[in-house]
Symmetry: C2
């Protein structure tokens, strides 16, 4: 297996944390998103969507979505479980991971990609250029506040996002909050359950990856 990573981006960070929680070591190659290495012919031949993370398997199979990579790693290395311990939990982890990607990480991307000069003409991931829309940056900020409220509410009834065990859903939410903090969207004093959870999760050794 080989892992294509970029230490400055949110999505591959989720896989790094997942690998660390599992205690799995994988050959890793950095792709420099800042210089546009994801658009090089060499990387495009691996992933035509020009995104990281990517995990390539020894038979040549290419996995280029976080959830797919984690699903494969979870089956290869079941202990400790990070995607749920039974059918119900596995479904809840997938559900929350999807929701957090859509409501949290997508909102972060909506802000960053539509307002940062570094993303000019790259409002969406992928090889096609799309112009920035300032209205989407504004919309993304509103969506992030709603996302923080949604997570605070969920964590008022659950120890972790998907139940009483730490899972991939927590990894995804944590990374979304980290990157939202760069945009000055903060947990604040009123979201007490989200704050309690964040302080607990940040102390896990894998989060330093």
């Amino acid at each position: 297996m080989k892992f294509y990573d970029c230490t400055t981006a949110p999505s591959p960070r989720r896989v790094r944390i997942f690998l660390a929680e599992k205690g799995i070591a994988v050959e890793t190659q950095q792709i420099d998103l800042r210089s546009g290495e994801q658009f090089s012919d060499a990387f495009r031949a691996i992933n035509p969507d020009c995104t990281v993370p990517v995990l390539t398997l020894d038979d040549g199979t290419v996995l280029s979505e976080v959830l797919a990579i984690c699903q494969f790693l979870e089956e290869m290395h079941p202990e400790p479980p990070v995607m749920g311990r039974d059918s119900r939990e596995r479904a809840l982890v997938i559900m929350w991971n999807v929701k957090i990607e859509q409501q949290g990480l997508a909102a972060v991307a909506e802000v960053v990609r539509n307002q940062s000069k570094g993303f000019k003409s790259r409002a969406l991931t992928g090889p096609q250029e799309f112009e920035q829309l300032p209205q989407l940056a504004e919309r993304g900020m509103i969506r992030l506040e709603l996302f923080f409220d949604r997570m605070d509410n969920q964590l008022s009834v659950n120890k972790y996002v998907a139940g009483d065990a730490f899972t991939l859903a927590d990894i995804t939410a944590f990374v979304a909050l980290e990157f939202a903090a760069w945009l000055k969207v903060e947990i604040g004093e009123n979201r007490k359950d989200l704050g309690r959870w964040f302080e607990e999760v940040r102390r896990r050794p894998a989060l330093s990856k």
Copy 2:
């Protein structure tokens, strides 16, 4: 179990097809999205994100994302497998399902929700109102053409989207194409592999659900 459905919307249609492929019968309740029933207090108490499909389990667990619902049903009723037959296939099905949701279904939604009068102030799903942005409708049309090209390319090397077996990835892609056809985005004569696949998939009995 109970399935909350809406026969006019793309996402619940994916679950109906999945259930039919499996031969599973589930108690079903229609939620009338056109009259706004998803925003009723009764439905909001089930799914605060105000979306269908939803599958509720007998212990009260609520699953409100297609991938989570299908993952649970696949584990409860493994035969016939519709989410892959081994670890590699399962990861590929999840990967393609994510990609098709983002590149296909999200683009359909971007067009419909930003141009149709019926979606005024509802540019995004969920209880919060967001104004329509006409630029997103235009962008969505470009994205749909790219998505069709991407699928045609994938189906030039694979019989089905994720390999040589029919899976959830095909269901998701088929529903995206059906709804894109309403927007006059067509397969056309040049996308021969996509056309071959579409004609084959549409003949499956489950697709009439």
